[in-house]
């Protein structure tokens, strides 16, 4: 009996220690109850100095369905300890959990850390309060997986999310072939992140950027050079190869930033098919587009095919010029090399004393 009582005592003590080490969900519930005392009221909001209203309403349902469903308020708002708050709670720091090797169950990846070097991250570091933090794009309480259609950063919604700040660009993109295709639900169409990258977004003038003058061709050819993607839409892939063989393409590969790249002619956000009269590569607009670099461009610039492959018959007269030189070169070289070999043969024979 007594033995049993001691055993029960030890067990109780162990359980108590265990309870301290592994807090049960009960504590979370307590935290949530405390917070929702105020934040659970629908009219709980704050009027900011600039007249804007900040909703402070948050309940147990706020995190429901999100990736942080199992987290509680203080898991993220860990600087809150007093109620009512003595100081204004700071913005949530996502890197508290989101790094490789974390023990909180967040994805084991450092990819998001690239944000700190991006144009947005450096703007924040320089003190630009308008620059976006994680939660500005990913949302605050209702954070969903990127693959989830309704996520703010899903392929379909990310343009709108970026467009909250980049309004004009969003309008241009929405009307472009890529934006229209995206609206139709075509999964292959690029959104903002398709070209600019996700966390490592840089200014186009930054050599690290995926849309830097010398990187654009590679970025566009990720899709436009892929037969498997382009064949679905009946778009040719030879544009990439012909560009790379043209003087523009070659100079671009050697690092010229002034020479034309894909976007110099086709536009950046407002890319439209050549048949569209508003397209910068529509024959009617070609003089203006070429005129950006070649002053005094006239309709002659639009006469003839743009992306030419001299090895194919569709190139017309250029193909015949190329063939002429091909056979001229082969023929001449054969005769000259034959002459040299005969000369060597004769010399060798005579040197050996044969005749």
């Amino acid at each position: 009996m007594r033995k049993a009582a001691i055993f029960a005592g030890i067990a109780a003590a162990l359980l108590g220690v265990g309870a301290l080490l592994f807090p049960p969900p009960a504590e979370a519930r307590i935290s949530l109850e405390k917070c929702t005392l105020c934040h659970g009221k629908t009219e709980f909001r704050k009027i900011l100095v600039d007249g804007k209203i900040r909703e402070l309403f948050a309940t147990a349902d706020s995190l429901k369905g999100s990736v942080h469903e199992k987290k509680t308020c203080v898991d993220c708002h860990f600087d809150v300890s007093d109620i009512p708050h003595r100081e204004r709670p700071r913005r949530v720091t996502c890197t508290h959990c989101h790094y490789k090797g974390n023990a909180e169950g967040a994805p084991q990846s450092d990819a998001s850390l690239a944000y700190f070097e991006s144009v947005h991250g450096t703007a924040i570091a320089r003190g630009n309060v308008k620059a976006p933090l994680c939660q500005d794009c990913h949302g605050s309480h209702q954070i969903l997986k990127t693959k989830n259609e309704s996520s703010a950063v899903s392929q379909r919604n990310v343009a709108e999310t970026c467009g909250r700040c980049h309004i004009e660009i969003y309008a241009q993109y929405k009307m472009s072939i890529h934006g229209v295709a995206m609206a139709k639900g075509i999964k292959e169409a690029p959104s903002c992140t398709g070209c600019h990258g996700e966390h490592m977004i840089y200014s186009p003038k930054d050599p690290k950027s995926t849309v830097y003058a010398t990187h654009i061709a590679a970025q566009c050819s990720k899709c436009h050079g892929s037969i498997s993607i382009m064949s679905k839409f009946g778009i040719e892939t030879e544009q990439v190869a012909t560009y790379k063989e043209s003087f523009h393409g070659v100079a671009n590969q050697f690092g010229s930033r002034t020479v034309a790249n894909c976007s110099s002619c086709h536009g950046t956000h407002e890319i439209r098919p050549a048949a569209d009269p508003l397209s910068s590569v529509n024959p009617a607009n070609v003089p203006k587009t070429c005129g950006k670099c070649h002053p005094g461009a006239n309709p002659n610039f639009a006469v003839g095919k743009m992306h030419i492959d001299a090895k194919k018959k569709e190139a017309g007269i250029v193909y015949y010029v190329a063939s002429f030189f091909k056979y001229l070169t082969i023929g001449t070289m054969l005769v000259l090399i034959a002459h040299i070999l005969l000369d060597m043969y004769g010399r060798t024979k005579r040197l050996r004393g044969e005749k």
Binding site: G304, V318, V321, D343
Partner: protein, 313 residues
């Protein structure tokens, strides 16, 4: 002449004839003024004489140096015999301008034709990037255009230019020479074809450069001034020019590297190359071997000249 000798010059008497003429001319003048004029004239004459002596010394020295070098050469390579002037200074200048420009054009142009070749990026970066290398390419182009203009003028306005141009025109003999040369290579005949001043090989080289210059300068100019081209011509002319420029460049480069280099550098008789492009001279031995008809012509001319001189005496 040493510095000490120079100081004594003013004391030297001038030519007595000049002295007499001077005395005659200044006879009627005031003695003081006459003396002044005489001194002035004497000083001027002495200066002139001194200058004449100095010039003559310099040219004598050069002549002497040339003679010594020639003697040394004769001692060393007595089998070569007399040296004949084959290429004049103007022609050598043209050749130097041309090969400098062609080398510049090839090393700045070929990387653009073969951008994926591993050397291309290195060569472009040697110039400090594509923007600089295109400038160098245009400098080379300018030199080639100048060469072409110079050569055309040379062929029209210089006597030697006109003579050489006429001798470079392909003749039926060249075809016969080529056939005989091949037969000689194959051992079918022991007689090498007798070439004149220009063999069919040299004629081919000449006309290949002619054709190359016309194509390269023509298409290059269309591409250089593309806005002017497109003002008057549709875009596919630019494409044709681009294709022709790129293809002919390859043909010309191959012809130079394979054909010309074999004939003037790698050929066992010339290896590793002669200095004819610099001094323009050909030895008696070589001219007899390579251009026997020209040698005979020179000898005939010489015989005629000596005969004429003999008659005059």
């Amino acid at each position: 002449m040493s510095v000490d000798e120079k100081k004594t010059i003013p004391q030297e008497p001038i030519d007595p004839e000049a002295e007499a003429a001077l005395a005659r001319e200044t006879a009627g003048l005031d003695p003081a003024k006459a003396h002044e004029i005489r001194e002035k004239v004497r000083k001027r004459i002495r200066e002139e004489v001194e200058r004449e002596i100095r010039l003559r010394n310099a040219s004598d020295r050069r002549e002497e140096g040339r003679r010594i070098r020639e003697e040394r050469r004769k001692e060393k390579h007595h089998e070569e015999g007399e040296m004949f002037q084959r290429l004049n200074r103007n022609f050598r200048f043209q050749h130097i301008i041309m090969f400098t420009s062609v080398v510049l054009l090839i090393i700045t142009g070929m990387p653009i034709k073969f951008p994926n070749f591993f050397l291309s990026r290195i060569v472009i970066n040697l110039w400090g990037g594509i923007n600089n290398s295109t400038i160098v390419h245009r400098i080379g182009a300018g030199m080639l255009i100048y060469f072409m203009a110079h050569h055309m003028a040379y062929c029209m306005f210089s006597r030697e230019g006109r003579r050489d141009f006429l001798l470079l025109i392909p003749m039926p003999k060249d075809l016969r020479d080529a056939v005989q040369n091949v037969r000689y290579f194959l051992g079918r005949t022991d007689e090498r074809p007798k070439f004149g001043r220009f063999s069919y090989i040299e004629k081919f080289d000449y006309w290949a450069v002619y054709w190359g210059c016309v194509i390269m300068i023509g298409s290059g100019a269309l591409l250089w001034w593309e806005t002017i081209t497109l003002k008057y011509l549709p875009k596919f002319f630019i494409d044709i020019a681009h294709e022709a420029h790129s293809d002919e460049a390859l043909l010309a480069t191959l012809a130079i590297i394979i054909w010309h280099f074999y004939n003037v550098h790698l050929n066992p008789e010339r290896f590793p190359g002669t200095l004819m492009w610099w001094h323009g001279k050909i030895s008696e031995h070589e001219i007899k071997e390579e251009h026997p008809l020209e040698y005979e012509e020179i000898m005939a001319k010489r015989a005629k000249q000596t005969a004429a001189e003999g008659n005059n005496r």
